[in-house]
Subunit: 331 residues, 6 copies
């Protein structure tokens, strides 16, 4: 398959249509057969509790990339692997949302992600608000069932316990657990901080076996050791979904998001964590959510999300190759 | 041909790839055969004298549209015609620019526009800075030669007289006239104001037979009567190119541009003027230039450019139908 | 009642809590008894088709006012009336929305507006997106029934004809007419332009007896004569609701909105039209909708909305006094 | 005197230090001898009632100009005169303000403007907030005394009646009149609108003989006829100061200001009015105030202020030449 | 006392008036009796040396909070304490400033803070520029006299040594020390860096017994050990005032401030330091100053200030309870 | 020489013309004789591959400084040295660029920097895009020849290997090496990360003897140890050029740049590294490039660039004095 199909060869980054990394666009799920990864947007934000705008996330993430991607090989220099050489990655466009009807949109997301899985590809979903975890993790869980799916969840917010009448949407993890899609002991949350949610939600999560790591712990111990623990807990799970809410980063690094919480991760920490996870863990799916372009500046949040996907792809490629990182070193 | 080919049906405006009005993308010039109009971006800005950024213009113009375009027919309600029903309009993507090498980019623009013409379609070029007038008007002039091409030029600046060593790029009109592509008496400029260019340039233009209408005249007489005069002067020209520099509008309406000049047209005036011209005059080509997204706010300039193209298409459709406007009227 | 109750006397505009014009805050509907007008926010935006953000509209509109309002009397200098001297106006806070559940929010809007009406006050609703017209016009219609309510609707978009499954929210006018709350012949729409909605919607509206005035007509004839016609058609209706979508203005004047459409009214035109309507017509309710602060700049859209309410209040005060405007004139 | 002294010849607008129009910088008042006009900044904003930021106005106005000014002659094309050929105009830098001590700053402004007058030049002051009218108009009045100075004042706000303890600064006109620097019957205010100041202030102004023209009158009659009246009233005054508060324009044209008021003049109207005044009236001084760059976008307000100065200079040049405008006309 | 009195129950964060954390508003000082903490805004910025705008700080800080605060208990998850359960915290509105008269405003600040102290509550003051330290620390010092008050001061700038005629305002610490309100040996400054003030000011401070810790030391040693030293020096002081100038953070974390200085603390560091101080030290007052919303982006600076107050409250609550932090831990 | 010559004494930072740190402006190269350092802008951006705007960099960097610089001595408090007391530093204005003709501009840069060197001063060049390294490093290399010049290069991108037809401009290092101006083994690059350039470029660099340090290594080892290694490799080189591309910092710290890459240095790290280098290494020249103001926010990137120059000057001053840093310490 050619490197691109809706862009002209050698176009600089600012020219032509913005597919993800100028990858080929394949809207038909059948066309994904043989692909390793399919990237799809889920442009929806009707279920946020504070600042909307994430519906413009997928388009902004794709358009934020300054790289032309024209040379035959452009490895991630930290690891010496060009993910697009190792993996066949396609852009599957956006799930068509129905504005104002998030439940309808969620059904479409679930169907679309299920289609990606059925085609044998790993879905990487560009949000959209975090409610999409319900349909997208759910679809992946369905696909790998009866094998369990683990969930590594980077977020400032535990994100799991709205009250009525909000049961159905602000509660992706709760819903996933209640529906049996994910088992509580296979969930680990990283980066939580602040004042939300209330203890009753933590109590529920604790009862389900969730594990989590507060930002405070990361600040004390460093993200590396915390990640050791986090990954140890799901070492035996055969399929893992990686959910990254960009608000896990400090607003300095991710201002363009819906519910910012100061005191978060740096981009440097998160990028490496995502790559490490993708290298060490069998990813069955990924989402990067809560990029809200109306609140972004100079595309810094959108570009961070873009790079998080690239780091995940680099890790997946390394894992596929089964080799150690080979950084680009001088003599 | 389907209404779209790289978007999913019924996608809202914010979802999916942003072709112009979600039109089908056809990168291959051969695929344009049978089309009436091809829209193409020319993302280049190396030749500006002040604020760059217009290289991001084509992408921003396409992405600014709030309309889903999904119903079978969506007429311009002022005239009662859906231009996409009357005309076959395709998105031809962007001319692939070579950053830092505007001459190379200009050659590519000329080839691409020539290809559109050769396929029988009218090119509408989304700039990019105004230097692209040289290759795009030039290509159209070549195509219609030996018949002459008229040039209606909306701009705050006469834009025709850089000195050496800038002869080759800041002087699209001068170059076009000197090369014989356009004859001076077929040029009319509308909206000029301010302090630039100096009188020597106007003297040159006068000697060539250029006609122009200062903003001051428009303020006194109104744009309608001025347009009457402007069009009268090219009534016999069989092919006309319409060049719209968005800086002809006041910065209130078009802040996102490279060389703003206060005191310009309103959007209301310019939109109607463009539609009228496209209705009354045989358009052989069009460009909308100098949209500079880094200086835009809330997409107002990009969207204005988008609507200018739609108004031109509406006018072309009316002209094709040969009928009077039929506004959507209540009882 | 004191001029204020949650602000300190003589606070400048930037100090203290931002009630509307530093009016007293009265959250309890009973406390509205005796008031002439109650201003209430409806912070919701889940039902927009393009850019969200209007949920931040009410707060932004209130905070945009540069005036301290401390002197005993501050008349509108065009008419010589201080609306707050003539009318008792209170700030009723915001309808508490339920994020993600616009239907629930709409029920709350309807109850709240009904409460205002029941207390004998005229509701002025600060949106929020335009979907709130269904509950707020509906509540006013219920209140005045069996007398009919007329609807004067400033908007770039006719805004009345989504297809399934969107029947319930993008169709405030359709719903209001179908439910019998408003009769089609009592509806007049002003400022429509562009490409939306499609003709089938206009056909439906025509069948109901709607009248409308395209922006094109206003550009040709001027807003004054058009308004003569618009008001003539509802001269006999005993109660009128005034719905102002700020996108009726050109994006230069109202960039902070969800679905901008270039070529609209100026602020100068709209402010005077609103005052005139409130002077000549018996207003039973008003809404100013679609202010989207994330897309605003320097509060220009929010402040325009604020002034539209003040002009309406000025007109209502003039009408109450039954006297001609007495502009502040020099000798 | 050379065209510039702190810039390199042929620098484009974005290079080098930003003096006004790349004019020579002359900090020493003695160096102004022989000049016709001296432009000086008054960067102060401690006395505003709402949004500060105007202290950055002078720098932003100077830096907003997209023109290189390198050719030997660059006439205003509306009138056919290059003001810099006719008049010797110098940039006198900024009055050094004392942050937090506006009275000290005002003293410095008065001394500086007096120095300009003493050198025989007409001062054009770039604000800064409007309080600077007290020292700058005062200095001009002192200079021309015992001849009177007229005051043409464009503003949304009458700007003349703070109560205690604010007598000394928000009341430039009141202070000027009370001190005898300006006589009330020589003041005319244009563009007033909205809700401020209260009637007591208008009563005071009326008693002094002030004349004013509300925006409402301008909307009805047009600015031309209003200006006829305004100028008629000071036809006999031998020296006139022109004070332009950019908030007289609608916020669409001048968002970057401290106390915006929707419904104002267009840039097109104001630019022509300023040029006409400078042509028809003997200007003894001018100020352009209330440009607040933190609230500006894409420099549109700063550039408008810049062009207002250029139009005034063009008018002054025409008046000096004693000839009719000779617009740059095509054949 | 109810959780709120000017908001409706269960309002999301974006609805209703923005008191701090939707706390009850109590404007009358008598009403503060029994409260532990009163939060008050001091919206003033006339005394800044560079970028103004901090007058809009209090409103922006209050409005920046994304949390609805509706559940009965919402503990800080790092420590397991909901400060609003342990402490009675009220919003005391804003000190009414007198624009242009900072001395008058300062008197009002001093009176208001004195009133809070007299009512038995700890004042937390939202700035406003840093000059407010003079009246607010002064009022607290008066209240605890003859016991001394210590001062922990986070800032990029030592902030204590303007020359004449600026003695009275840019010198809060100098004035406080000279007036005897604070003793030099009870002052510790943290985060100083850059080029200001000059050595003479440091010499003066050294002579008074000030201690300080440059950012360079923090970069080398870490903030924890530095804080150990800083706190050791005031271990015996019975009352401590915590002054936080947000410019102590790097501009990445706090762009919306008046005199940014690159190279500062991260939000992560500062949030924890503030909580620790409030836990370990007897806070008698606090201020968060120099939030300048016109220069902020996506509210990141305002929200940081908001969270700094919450962390202080959390620490105070922990100290009140006399117990160790109990982080929300998974199983 | 006076501290300033185009500013008035005691001007605050926001007043007057913005030379660098209000240093004297000396446009004539002869006037630089006796100076230790000359700061010059190179406002050009035609050769960027993604976001332009760096042509506005020099002006923005100069204007970003909040400090008045009026006291006689304002040392860097980390080291106890006022660089302007130790070194004679002048502002040499901007190289006059020729818009659209970067080769012409590069020639002018080379001539201007050569002139600075010839006058005996060290050039510090404010970019402008990174292509200026070719002429400015080249001029310095010519000046010190036949002695070699080392190159310390902070950047996210290795920046050295465009293909044809881009050989001449995107390849400053390649050109410098190929021309013999710099020897590969004297080049060390710090902060590289991401996906660009491709391995062939690294292979070329490796073959030349370049050394580099990926951001990944810095994240693991810390910048101090990495810098030890970097400096060790050029310990014997008698002249060193320091090239700082601000995109070496994370976009949180430097959003206003052309090709951002998340995951970079903090400002804290980079400021100290630059000072250390200037202290330990014999700097023969420096450039700070790729500040793109249209993408900056609240001047944070421009100010960072400004402070990087100041830290370099502080280091150079320390080195000149030959003494240890003497931080401003409390008692």
């Amino acid at each position: 398959m050619p490197r691109t199909n809706v862009n002209r060869p050698d176009e600089p980054a600012y020219a032509g249509l913005a597919t993800f990394a100028k990858l080929p666009l394949v809207l038909d799920a059948e066309g994904l057969r043989g692909a390793d990864v399919a990237i799809v947007g889920a442009p929806t934000d009707e279920l946020v509790s504070y600042r909307p705008g994430a519906r413009f996330g997928p388009r902004a993430i794709r358009a934020s990339d300054p790289i032309a991607w024209s040379p035959p090989s452009m490895p991630n220099m930290d690891v010496g692997v060009d993910p697009f050489e190792v993996l066949t990655v396609l852009d599957h466009g956006d799930v068509p949302p129905t504005p104002g009807y998030p439940h309808v949109t969620h059904d479409a997301i679930r169907r679309t992600v299920a289609g990606i899985c059925a085609a044998g590809a790993v879905p990487i979903v560009l949000g959209g608000d975090h409610s999409i975890a319900h349909p997208d993790v759910g679809a992946v869980a369905d696909h790998v069932a009866p094998a369990p799916v683990g969930l590594i969840h980077f977020d400032a917010h535990a994100d799991d316990a709205y009250e009525e009448p909000r049961l159905s949407h602000g509660t992706p993890l709760r819903l996933l657990v209640e529906e049996g899609a994910v088992r509580g002991e296979h969930v680990v949350q990283i980066g939580l901080r602040g004042y939300w949610p209330p203890p009753s939600d933590f109590a529920w999560a604790r009862a389900q076996g969730f594990r989590w790591h507060l930002m405070d712990e990361i600040h004390e111990r460093g993200l590396g050791p915390v990640l050791d623990d986090a990954l140890a807990g799901i070492a035996e799970v055969p399929h893992v979904f990686l959910s990254v809410d960009v608000d896990v980063c400090d607003p300095a690094f991710a201002p363009g998001t819906g519910t910012p919480e100061p005191g978060g991760l740096t981009a440097r920490e998160l990028l490496r964590a995502v790559r490490r996870i993708a290298t060490e863990v069998p990813l069955a799916g990924m989402e990067v959510v809560e990029v809200s372009p109306p609140y972004d500046h100079a595309d810094v949040t959108a570009l961070l999300a873009h790079r998080l996907v690239l780091e995940a792809l680099s890790g997946m490629a390394l894992r596929r190759l089964g080799r150690e990182p080979q950084p680009e070193r001088s003599g």
